[in-house]
């Protein structure tokens, strides 16, 4: 069950503010500060997802991904196995929104995904790795610690 389950209209211009905010924080405070913000986001805002992962339960993470990527009209494919979740994003809705607004995509924009996913998994048996596959596409992998990158 999701902690947050919004309905109604989306305010996709948020992605533009996020893009500006990421640039601003890195320029003025550095990546460590940005990482701390996303760490709080991952472990406080998404506390229920994080807590469940601590208990080796990825159900809310899976539900969260499926619900919000559908809601944002992403082109994606989600594959769920016992010890692995693979999210293949063919067209990122956040980057698509930036393109539609005519905003240059920050070279650091995808840190919002990388840092957030890492924060959600921090201190759990689950690890994560995000691999960019193009402009606005990536593969986000969540896997159990024993199931390392050698697989």
């Amino acid at each position: 069950m999701l902690r947050y389950h919004e309905i109604g209209e989306l305010a996709k211009d948020f992605h533009g503010t996020l893009n500006t905010t990421i640039n601003y924080i890195i320029k003025n405070y550095g990546k460590d500060t940005l990482k701390k913000i996303f760490n709080n986001m991952g472990q406080k805002v998404y506390k229920s997802i994080h807590t469940k992962l601590m208990n080796d339960d990825p159900s809310e993470l899976i539900e969260h991904i499926a619900y919000f990527f559908n809601r944002e009209n992403a082109d994606f494919y989600l594959k769920v196995k016992t010890d692995e979740i693979i999210l293949t994003v063919r067209k990122c809705p956040a980057i698509a929104a930036l393109n539609e607004m005519g905003l240059p995509v920050s070279p650091h924009f995808c840190l919002s995904t990388t840092y957030l996913n890492e924060a959600i998994c921090k201190g759990t048996k689950w690890k994560t790795k995000t691999t960019k596959t193009g402009a606005g596409s990536c593969i986000q992998r969540f896997y159990k610690e024993a199931d390392n990158d050698t697989k």
């Binding site: 211009d13 905010t21 924080i25 709080n40 406080k44 805002v45 809601r71 992403a74 956040a94």
Partner: protein, 47 residues
């Protein structure tokens, strides 16, 4: 991706961190430039 539904929750974390560093007013100015870009022309048309 942070869902656009969660922008207020994201801002809250940004505000807390930047406030602790004494950097909130400058951040507001930066964000207001973006809002100006998107909103100012529309506001002018409404007058």
């Amino acid at each position: 991706m942070i869902p656009s539904d969660h922008f207020v929750r994201f801002y809250n974390e940004v505000f807390k961190k930047l406030d602790s560093l004494g950097g909130l007013p400058k951040y507001y100015l930066e964000i207001s430039k973006l809002q100006e870009k998107h909103c100012l022309e529309n506001f002018k048309k409404m007058v």
